[in-house]
Assembly symmetry: C2
Homo-oligomer: 212 residues x 2
């Protein structure tokens, strides 16, 4: 018998990289169900790049037009080609600020995950925590979902609730949502890589209990 | 010194009346901050009517066209007139299946509350629990909000989260959301009646800690 092949994961990020760090640290202690082999970014000088360098993780910078929501066809094809050189089989979006088209998604069918800082379907899109706070919700949270071509759509793999208290300023809520993300994303990636599931309609059904 | 006037509450319901019962029982044990003095309904033979009769609470049946989302002008004016005969100052919607227009709402400005079985702004409108379940969310819940003319809009007074587990069928989720409602609605009514709050934008800020 051979042991199952170790999953090779790419993290795509554009910002500080705190979720990249949470994923990389979980992988380093064997808790992710795979290895983070490359950090890909559209922002050559973002925090995530520095975190990857500090951890000896490969970095790929995609050259894409700035100030656009999408990468564009050429950059997406380049991104897929570079992920293939790293033999990546699963793509984890973690604060990646570009919308991916089917050109990219069809290269990794059912293997692209995203983390969004709200309880989807509430507050899709940009600036979700601030919009939830302004809306006056008392419960928000974060969502890990499979990526489809719609924005922040796709079957939901996991969610975690965060309560907003009477006097919570935006920065307090942001800190709590980010803490929930840093716990939820690694454990959901591990489940995705290690537990069987079925998608019924758009509902994800995990077919074996955790740890089974 | 005189003690503050006891609030006189109307509950509007169209169904089984489980939230009406939760409110009436909280009032009976002095935990609601007011008295439930009348049950108003558009369904003369609904469970809520039987529950009101069993508790000696007055019942008012509004004669309104069936199979319409709205009561219509004549029935709304009649409803307001009847609530006035009961000297009602606050209106609690609890599974009332009609949309109220400004004609009604302006008779009780800022004094109409609604309970909705989702974490608004997700899943407004009918059939919210089933729609959340079908959508595959892993966190849903319930919301108590002030009623404005939009459907399930208005500033949010309180929310409570309910987790959906791997194998939860719809009826299990419904039971858990209803249990959350039965706790959340009475305690939120008590807060509304006894604690000062301000509305900033559409965000409710409670100005004194609970019990202060």
């Amino acid at each position: 018998m051979t042991s199952p092949r170790t999953r090779r994961l790419a993290v795509l990020a554009s910002g500080r990289g705190t979720n990249f760090v949470a994923l990389a640290e979980a992988a380093a202690r064997g808790a992710l169900g795979g290895d983070v082999v490359v950090l890909m970014t559209d922002q050559a000088d973002c925090g995530a790049v520095r975190e990857a360098h500090g951890r000896g993780i490969a970095v790929e910078v995609i050259d894409a037009p700035t100030h656009r929501a999408r990468l564009g066809e050429a950059a997406e094809l380049d991104a897929v080609a570079r992920l293939r050189t790293h033999d990546v089989d699963t793509v984890l979006l973690a604060g990646f600020m570009r919308i991916l088209s089917n050109l990219f998604l069809e290269a990794y069918p059912g293997r692209v995950l995203n983390l969004h800082p709200s309880l989807l379907p509430a507050f899709p899109g940009l600036d979700a925590i601030a919009r939830a706070h302004r809306h006056g919700v008392r419960v928000t949270g974060c969502t890990v979902h499979l990526v489809s071509e719609g924005i922040d759509e796709g079957p939901i793999l996991a969610q975690r609730a965060v309560t907003i208290g009477d006097d919570d300023a935006l920065d307090a809520v942001e800190a709590r949502v980010h803490a929930a993300e840093h716990a939820l994303y690694p454990e959901t990636v591990r489940a995705f890589l290690t537990r069987p599931f079925a998608i019924e309609g758009r509902r994800v059904r995990w077919l074996a209990p955790e740890g089974a």
